[in-house]
């Protein structure tokens, strides 16, 4: 039981990272109907901002600057590469984001080099005991920060004027435009938000083991998360991300014991199995809107 709970908490912490990246995916998808494969690069961008600014200005200011800086990178990417592609097939735009991801990651790898870089977060590998259960402080920080961010986002979408405009644009761009909503700005802001979320995820992804050239692959776990939750559901992105994290952690804990024939290191691919199972039952994810087809 102790092991189980520990695995669950660790999974929730890891899942929070997936959820943050997944929320970025979902917000971009809802407003622009683009699945952005550039999200991994944005996440590492955020992490690198913290890595290089932390020694200069300290951790918290560095985090703030990272959030702003990555949001700006998101804005620039949207303006330069995505805005000219409005009206193109979604698949073509998705491939463009892959191209952007490739270019950004080369630049980042220049900065990372062959070393492992550390963001120098205050919690590191510290743990706290709750009864018998050993919980990493980083997992508490990850989970609580994600919850705060999600509540803030929901409040923004629900109560602010611009959030309402974003929801309207997601629902029907032309009608929103006719109501005087600046849809171009909605696109820009959604990329900015996605960049900011990716920066926070990038800071958390370190988790004591550092940032290396292979870190970006972690952000791809957000893809099963958004598909499980449903591409166009913000709540689904959160739940999908946490679910993927918990499943991965539980599989890592128990698979070697109960299903050894699945081989070593099955945990990192288990989200994709979960993805296949969910989609077999619900082709639009758990909370996604089924497409209504007109002939």
């Amino acid at each position: 039981m102790t092991n189980f709970l520990q695995a669950v908490f660790e999974g929730l912490g890891q899942g929070s990272i997936y959820a943050l990246v997944a929320l970025g995916f979902v917000i971009i998808y809802k407003s622009t109907l683009v699945v952005s494969f550039a999200q991994p690069a944005l996440m590492v961008t955020g992490a690198l901002f913290v890595v290089f600014l932390n020694p200069v200005v300290g951790f918290w200011p560095a985090l703030l600057l990272a959030v702003i800086g990555t949001a700006v990178v998101g804005l620039v990417v949207e303006r330069l590469a995505l805005r000219p592609m409005i009206g193109q097939p979604v698949f073509v735009v998705a491939i463009i984001t892959i191209g952007i991801d490739i270019v950004l990651r080369v630049i980042q790898n220049r900065f990372i080099g062959t070393n492992i870089r550390f963001v120098g977060d205050p919690w590191g590998l510290n743990t706290v005991n709750v009864g018998d259960i050993l919980i990493f402080e980083r997992d508490i920080a990850r989970f609580s920060a994600t919850m705060v961010i999600v509540i803030a986002l929901f409040a923004f979408f629900k109560y602010s004027r611009f959030g309402l405009g974003m929801r309207a644009a997601a629902f029907d761009q032309e009608t929103a435009l006719a109501q005087g909503i600046n849809v171009g700005r909605v696109f820009a802001v959604s990329w900015g938000i996605a960049g900011a979320l990716a920066a926070v995820a990038g800071m958390f992804v370190d988790g004591g083991s550092g940032i290396s050239q292979g870190t970006w692959i972690i952000a791809l776990k957000a893809l099963p998360a958004i598909i499980i939750g449903g591409l166009d559901s913000v709540g689904g992105g959160l739940i999908g991300g946490l679910a993927v994290g918990v499943i991965e952690s539980l599989v890592g804990e128990y698979q070697a014991q109960y299903f050894p024939w699945l081989g070593n290191n099955f945990a990192p691919v288990s989200p994709y199995v979960l993805l296949l199972i969910v989609l077999l039952v619900k082709p639009y994810g758990l909370f996604g809107t089924p497409e209504v087809e007109r002939v």
């Binding site: 491939i95 270019v103 990192p268 994709y272 989609l279 002939v295």
Partner: protein
Amino acid sequence: MSSLSGGLLGGSGVSRRPELYTSYEADMALFNTRAKMAGVYGLLALTVLMPFVLADDLLVLMARAFAFAIGAIGLNLVTGYAGQVSLGHAFFVGIGAFTAATLSGDPDGRTLGFGLPMIVWLPAAALLPALIGALIAPVATRLRGLYLAIVTLGLVFLGEHVFREADFITGGFGVGRPGVIADFFGISLTNTGASFTGQQKTFWFALAVLVVVALLGRNIARTATGRAFAAVRDRDIAAEVIGVEIFKYKILAFTVSSAFAGLAGAVLYTITRQITPETFNLALSVQFIAMILIGGASTISGSIAGAVFLTVVLRFAEELSRFASFIPGPGQQGGLLNTAQVSTILYGFLIVGFLLFEPRGLFGVWIRIRNYWKGWPFSY
């Protein structure tokens, strides 16, 4: 009669009126214009003669490009023609490569091998991926658009896991196993013999497979199956209404595409002498996507052009260090960007640039050139 003579001689089949088409068959024939026929035969003849002119390392490069073209044709059938975006192509390439390598491999080697001849492993390298493709396709037919893309991406990760764990076949991560042992009636295709070098022979082998696959692909694309694919791509519900069985054609598209991917894997690892399981990752899938987008979606010639162009350009970028002082050569330190980084950035920019400025790819560039000279000296 008209379709036959039109097919072999090119043009419309009507004497002295090469552009007068009297039947749909003549219009849809393999070589519906004389120029196309002359161009293809000429290019083919030049390519066959290439090994007598080019250096061996360039032949290897071209042979690799041909192997990629085989896979790109497969991906173009499922993604370009049938409109089902697949990011899982690398997985099928991997299955084909390991099938061929295992069946042809040394029975006494470190990894599993059966020492079977080419007549067994080459068809098997197409059939096993096709079978697996056909098994997975029913799942894929339930999904559409980006959902499908991400599920096929999951396939690549699951495939990587399987390749890593099945180390008695794949040799394990970072180690790998020897490539395909290719013998053609006792003549080794990879070892240098009395009259030809191994590189020359593998070049011809890759070219031969490519010609067969291109012909198959073109015939699928221009017949009823290809039209059904296009109908599914353009509007699947409308296609169903006019009587196209979507389920059947989606499965067919996946099966054929997987078969071609498998062949590509087999040919690729006849050229490359060592297979490492981590090669078949997302980057390889993206590379195939890039090839069909740069070459031109839903064109067979575009798939070949894209594969050759991308392979050659990325190689050229690696040679840049000889001309630009700020790019150090492989193994050297310092400089602004090393050659691998330059070629990766170029690759990214090529993808984005083509999609932004010429979405029809190299095929579109060719159409522009052709129309310019067709209309010359009038600009319209």
